[in-house]
Every structure is written in C-alpha cells, then in structure tokens.
Symmetry: D4
Subunit: 156 residues, 8 copies
C-alpha cells in the first residue's frame, strides 16, 4: 500500500474535498488525468476517503460515545473487526493500555446506548468489560453521517 | 444551527464527497443551485466538512494515539479548546467517566510522543494527569492529513 | 408516557405532598376535579409518586449503601430489573462508566451487608464484581421506609 | 431526633403520601389529632418528607447523573453541604471507598452537564477529581421535580 | 455474646496481659475470684485473647504482607473462613470497597510469598484476583508468633 | 534488637499470655528467673507485647476500618508515625502498591468515621487521598481495647 | 547457589565485560586461573552473564514494551516460565501489586505488538488481562539483541 | 547513531560477551581489526554495552523492584534523567499508559525501599505518586552489579 510524495501533495489539497482536480493539477504542475488517476487508485485501495463529516453537536438527537472494551482472549484483530460491523460503530482502535479496544459509536434517539449494548454488543462473545465515555462537548470531532434506509427504521 | 431533512438527505449522498451536485439534485428532485447553496451554507456554519481522510496504517511513519486527560479545574470547555489548538491534535472530546478529555493525536517520525508532551502539552496549565493509548491496529479509523508547510519542518 | 405543562405545574405544587388538590387548583386556575384526575392518571402510569421519605440518619439502625456492580454479560436491563427485586434494594441505575449498575440499598441491624450479599446478590448470576460505598453522612438523601410485615422478620 | 414505634407505623402507612390521616388513625387505633401532630413534628424536624417524586425517564429532556467526587482536604461534611446547595444537586452522600462524595444530579436540556461543571462545581474549591456516571435506564429511581421559577430560566 | 461494663473495665487493665488478677480486683473493688471467672468466661467465648504479640521488624526473616482479594462469587463468609485456615494467614477481614477480603499474612524465609500463592491460595476456588501490599515499615503493627513444630519445617 | 532461639521458644509458649513463667521454665528446662528476665527485656525493648485483644464483633458499637492512604511526599516514615498517634489508630503499615500506608482504625458510636476524618486526619498535612474499607465480618481479627479515661469522653 | 566476596569482587570488575582476566587477577591479587575458573563456574550456574546489550533507541525498527499481566490462577511460577519462552520476551518478573507478572518484550517492524498478542500470548491459557506500556524514551535501559536465524524470518 | 548489518552481525556473536574478536572475525569473514574497531566505536557511542549481569535471586540480600511513577508536569525526559541518577536505579523507561515512568531499582539489606524513598526519591520534585511492584521470582531478569566503593557503605 505505497503512497509517494505526489500522492501526499494531492491529498493535502483535498482538505477541501470538493476542490476540482484541474485546480490541484495546476498547483502541482501535474496533468488533471494524473491527479484523477491517482485519487481513484488511492480510494480504491482504501487509503483515501473523500467524504462528508458532520459536527455531532449540530444534530440534536445524535450522541457520540467512546467505549473502552476489555476482551477475554487475545484474538484482538478478529474481535476489533467484529465490533466494526455493529450498528452505530464508526471506528475501532486496538490500543495499548488499560483497554484492549476503544470504539467510537454514534447513537441517536432511536438507537440509544441501552440498545447498542443489549442488541449489538451482546452478539459478540468473550467481552470481559465495557466502559462508556459520553462525549458532551467536542472540538473538531466530526463523524460520518448516514440516513437510515428510507421506509425502515434503524431501531424500534 | 438548524439542519433539516433536505440537508440530511444531501449530506447522506455526500458519503462520496466528490459526487457532482447535479447528480445529488437529480436524486432528490431539487435544483443543482439548491444543493450547491445548502452545502455551501452547511460548510460555512461548521456543520459539514467535505474532506480527505487517510487510513493511518497506510502512512508508515504516522501514528495515532488516544490520550485520556484529567484536569485540575472545572474549566473544561476552555481547556478542551486549548488542547484542540496544539500541534498534532486532531480532535478533543469532553467526556464523562474516569477522564475529563479524550484527545485524538496524530504523531509522526518527526513529531513523536515525547515531543508532543514536552513541547505542546507542557504549554497547558492545570493538567493533572495524562494516559496514552497507542493505536496499533484499527478499523475505519481515518484521520485528516496535512503536509507540513513546505520549506519548514513541523518539529526539529 | 406524555406529561404536559399543566401536569408539571401540578407536580411542582406537590413538593408538599399533602397540599389539598383544591388549593393547587386555585393556584393554577383549574378545577379541583382536573387536578385530582391528572394526579390519579400520573400515579397510575408510574410517572408520579407521592410518598413518605425518611432521612436515614434519623433511623439509628438503618444504613444506606451504594453499590457499583459490574456484570459479565450485556443483558443490562434484565439484570437491573433482577437487582431491583432483591430485598433491601431501593433503586437501580444502569450507568455509563466503570460500573454497569449502581444500586441504592437500605440495610438494617437485622439485615446487614453480609446478608445482602450472601442471601440476596448470590441469587443473581453473571455478576462480575461488586464495590460497596457506605454512606456515613448525607444531605437531602431520603429513602422510602417500610416496616417489616408484623409477626415476621425480614432476616434471621 | 427520636422516632418511636408509633412514628414508624404512621410513616409506614404514608407510602401512599395522600392517605387521609383519619384512615391511618383508624388502622392504628389512634386519634386523627395524634397522627396529624406526629406527622407535623416529624416533618418539622426534617426526619420525614411527604413529596412528589417523578420517574426521570418520563421527562424527555431531563437526565439523572451520579458523580463520584474526590476532595483535596478532609473537611468532608462542609464540602458535602456546599455541593448540596449547587443548582441541580438532588442529594449528596459522604461515602467510604474510592470516592469521598457521591452526588445525584438532575440535568435538563437547559442545564446540561457542561454547565453544571463550569458554572456550579467551579464555585467549590479543593475538588481533586470528578467522575460522572450517566444513568441511561433505571428501576425505582425517582427524583424530586421543581419547575424553574416562572419568568426566569434556570440556565442561559 | 454480651459484655458488660465490668468486663470492659477488667479488659482495660489487661493491656498489661500479665497483671495479677488480685491487683485488677483491688483496682475495681471486686473479688479476685470474680475477675478470674469473668476473664475465663470471656476467653472461653472467644471474645478475649491474652497473648504474646511480636513486632515483625524484630524478626529478621519474617515479613508481613496485606493482600486484597476479589472473589468470583458472593459466598463471602465461607471464603473468608477458608482463607483463615491457610498457612501463614493471621487474620481475614471481609470489607467494603474495591476488594472483597483483606488478609494479613506472615511470611518467612522458609515460607515466601510465592509458596503462599502456589501452595496455599491455589487450594481455594473462585478467587478472581489478588493484590499484595508488602509491609516494609510499621508502627504498632504486632503479630502473633508461633514456632514451627520442632522436628518439622513449615515449608520446604 | 537481637532475639535468639530461647527467646523464640519462650514467646511461643506465651500464646497463652497468662501461662506462669514457672511452667514455661519447666517445659524449656530453664530457671524461672531466666524466663522472667528474658520476657522483661523483650517487653522493654518493644519486641514483645503481652496484652488483651478483643474480637471487635463482640463489641456492638465498635467498628474496625482499614484505610489506604496516599501521600503527597516521600517522608513516609514520618507520616506513618504521625498517623500512628491519631485517636483511633491501632496500627500503621508503610506498604508497596497502590497505597503508601494502610491504617487499622477502631471507631465507636462516639467516634464515628466522619469525626476521624474531620478531627484527626485533618491535622496531618500532605495527604493526597484516603480510601476506607469497612470491615463487616472477620476471622481472627482482634484489636486492643482501651476504655476512655473515666470522667471524660473520647469524642463529643 | 553460593556467591562469595571474591566472586563479587570479580563480577564488579566485569562491568567492562571484555576486561582481560589477567588484569582482574592483578587487581585482586589472585591468579589468572582462579579468576577464569570462578567466572566459568558462575556462568555455568546461571548466576553470571557476560553479554552484549544494545540501547533500543539506536535500533530504529525495534521497540521495547513492558506488559502487566493478570492471571486467572495461582500457578504463578509455571505461567511466568511459559511467558519467558514466547518469542520476543526478554524477561518475566513475578510481582506484588496490581499485576501478577511484568514482562519486558522486544518488538520489531517484522514482529509488531499485534503479532505478539495474536500469535504468542494466545498460546497461554488462563490470562485474565494484559496492559501494555510502550517505552518511548529510556535511560540505561539496555536489552539483549539477537539476529533472526539467517534464511528465515521471525514473523510473516 | 547509525548501525549497519555488519554491526548487527558482530553484536549477535557477542551474546557471549567474552568471545574473542578473532573468532567473530573468522565467522563473518572480516579482519580482527575491523571487528575491534567497530565494537570500540559502538561502545563509545553508547549503543553497545558488554557487561556482567547477575541473576538477582543468587544474591540473597538483593531485591529488585519495579516502580510506576506519575509526575506532576510534562517535563518527562528531564525527570526520567533525574531518576536515572538516583542510587539504586538501574534503568528508567518513559512509558505510555497509567504511569509516566517505570523504574527498575536494585535494593539491598543496606539500602532498603524505605531509604530509597526517603533519601533518594525525596530529592526529586513534582512526583505525583509512586507504586512499587516487588519482584519475588523472575525468569531471565538480570541486573548489573556494582560493589559499594570499599571503605564506605552505600547507605547508613
């Protein structure tokens, strides 16, 4: 999964994710095709994401929590992947220190913490303990946002 | 900082941050101008970000750490804001539980943890304790990426 | 379980739980029947309780303890309910943080802590750990009070 | 602050806080005047409260949190009293164990946790640390309820 | 297991465990027979011990440790009793707080900590965790002292 | 502070603190004078105590607590000595691990925990934190017993 | 495993591990043969090691971590030995306090922490929890260094 | 502080710290002078140490302890260096996680833990807390050994 200096320069301009490739190409003295091809390749390889992020404080019924998880066995990567597939889980970090994993989870009025634990975390075996940190104010914390599929609800 | 159902539908399509506004407008039966104007407004208000995120595991000399911070006083919001301005800090969450703040920090070969503490955190008063969690594997954890300004280095 | 502004105004006057409904009705320009009907409905729905509370420090052989409980599985609501039915348990809160549940328990000379653990908590499976906080002084901490049924004793 | 067997029998009947004194008197073979006088005395001495309690889950914008507080000095009773006078604090327990005090606090949309810390707890000196437990489900946890004084707001 | 004021006055004089009963009787205006009878009864009932205690710092190859034990079940009294019968255990306290039991243990050159755990504690089931506190200096900490039975050794 | 094998044999017989020196001398083939002299010397040097100990569970209004203390400075021995002089403190151990000191304290109805902290511990500077473990059941835990000086009370 | 004063004097000179035995012999007025024989014997008995140690900070792709381990049973010595045989483990200490074992582990780019846990620690049963401390700066911390056997790699 | 493949191959042979340079040179097809020069340079630069290590369990009056230290400020490297200069300190690691530093300390009968804290650690300011782990059994844990300078003692 190599990434070279030109890739990094392109990514750097994509802090504004809507900047036209033509404009980036001009800045970097590249052809627009080069920029387009490289961005496409980086996205395909899972290295680069260009996406909308939302300030959770602007969404009145959304709530971000961080959860420290301790596991009962050493299959850390597999467990982390299982957690990453649960509803509400934005990301999973395997960490050193007093926890084995730290999750970032996005809750809503329709999907409160109690549902996350009883309906989602309960699917995963060998969880020794969980410790929830409710985020009640944040700076530069932005999360991806997805509407529930129309016609259904994410939770009862 | 209102955000209505149309805003949410537009943001939902921007999971692909490069999707042309024309295409989103067609999906939602809006005019392209409406989509463009609403996106512009949401970005101006700090609700919406459309940006490049990078998988830190693809950047061989970058390292993400989470840091639990306990403070000596109750001026939590002001302290959180001070931390958010330190070099390397991606985001700051004010949290319930055994820590007062949880930071996400992006380190590099040129800006290792010891520099973060001795050069950056040392600027902030009334820090009672810090506890670092090194992220050594992750799922869906993506971070913004910025090149150091050319001609200078971010750290000695 | 709706509760409207009029309900809240009535409840507000019931800080003195013995205030005559007539007097509340006059304050709020309602009929006494309206007040009576609404109070009855709120009590029936489990929203409102009008009850005697006792300062535990005035009862020389009663002792309040708070107990932080960690569980072995994620069936938090069911476990909380099981704990709420144990002798001595006043209330159960499902909480974020280092504990999963926090219990408020009322002990007495005839029902000491050791009995609570060996006779009551021992009935519940999947308890990982308990941590007791003995309340030895309090402000505004009041608890419901029930006499043991005459002719029997609550504990040997 | 004596409380005798007759007092306890009366209080026992006041689990229904609206029960007429006449009815209690009949049950206990006392005169109504005796019941009334004793209740009045117990309330005046701060031993007995007859009051409305509300299930916090029925109030959509209210939130109960428990807060473990560690202090920097040994003036536990004085500090507990100071905390008991802060806005939002329902009760304060001085406890054995890893915390010095455990507070029960009632928050609302207009008085969120961040305000409780920055506007209220910040008034109290010699607080070493706080640890918040957010109650997200409860059994038999009921709290007193007070409307903000009309014409003003409890928080900005 | 009653103990009256005369018992307490007698015990008070037995801070010097060798004080002649005649002398105590004279102090308290009792007969020597009364003192002797009461002391005998208190010892027989397990209320009173008159015994030699040794300052562990004067015994160069003896070491006192305190051990916090957490258990996996609620059978606290039974477990405490089992621990009290292990070699080296001086006393066992069932406690509130982060441990379930706190043991006082007397080790020696011939019976070091590693033997205590691998040969003694290993006999007891349902021990969740142990945490040893080595006493390396003390004030007024005195422990009973027993010679190993001559001709045998307490440990290999 | 030497202690030889003969001393140890004598002490061993003093598990019954009232055993006549003549009898010990006979067992050990020593003269009664030798036993008497050695015991006197061991007591004078603070190595040996022969004293009454009481089972705290037999004293209905007495309560033993253990207290883990963390200090703000490294003057551990001096601090331990200061604590050993406080009312109610039976012994002080300087320990390795999460606490710096562990105290054994004897409380009574007239000298409850809140008084121990606000009147006694408050005299000692540089105490970082305290954590109380209430002993609610014990095996072989015995404590010295002293009557308050007649005509005065140990606490208000 | 005796070691006498002469042994200690010889070892003392071997702080420079390459010092000729002749030179040590001259310093200590011994024969070179005596020094050689004693050193050989001490090494054979596992008391003395003369070895190369490397400053881990000079090896850019090596990383030292310390790991606190809690076990589920009391077979501490056997478990410690099992850990000592895992790839990457430099040493194992059985300790008092909140951990049962503390490991020193040497990781590399080819043998990162996630492999240590999923491939090595996972072989050991009855591990209750692990807590990793990443060493990111050190003084006088030196570790043995071994090249992987040529023609193979230590990890995939 | 570069170190190349030849350096690593040489160091690899120095697991036996006394191996003649001639022999290493022959193994690696280098000249003896090359090996000698490179070893000298590596030692001069502080990368390589060739030294005697002793199994602490073979030294009956020596004791290894590990100490977790939390600091009051962020000057971690400077503090670590100060600790590394204290008597008894073998090495200092600056670590992530619940401690800021972890020390390895070698104690002896003449230099017990209480002296290490009251005479040595007390010299260092801004130490928030210390937590000692006593090593009572170890595998492959070896420590440097130094005799006290003859004619003096290391501690009173």
């Amino acid at each position: 999964m190599g990434i070279d200096n030109i890739d990094m320069a392109i990514i750097n301009h994509l802090q504004d994710g809507r900047m036209p490739f033509k404009q980036i190409a001009d800045f970097l003295a590249l052809s627009e095709a080069t920029v387009r091809t490289r961005v496409k390749k980086l996205r395909a390889e899972g290295i680069l994401d260009i996406t909308a992020l939302v300030n959770p404080e602007s969404l009145s019924d959304q709530q971000v929590v961080l959860i420290g998880v301790c596991l009962k066995d050493m299959d850390l990567v597999k467990k982390a992947e299982e957690f990453s597939e649960l509803q509400g889980v934005v990301s999973v970090a395997v960490v050193t220190g007093r926890f084995d994993l730290i999750l970032t989870v996005l809750l809503s009025r329709d999907f409160p913490l109690v549902n996350f634990y009883t309906e989602e975390v309960s699917k995963i075996e060998k969880v020794r303990s969980v410790e929830t940190f409710v985020v009640y104010k944040s700076f530069n914390l932005k999360v991806p946002f997805t509407l529930p599929i129309s016609g259904t609800t994410t939770a009862k």
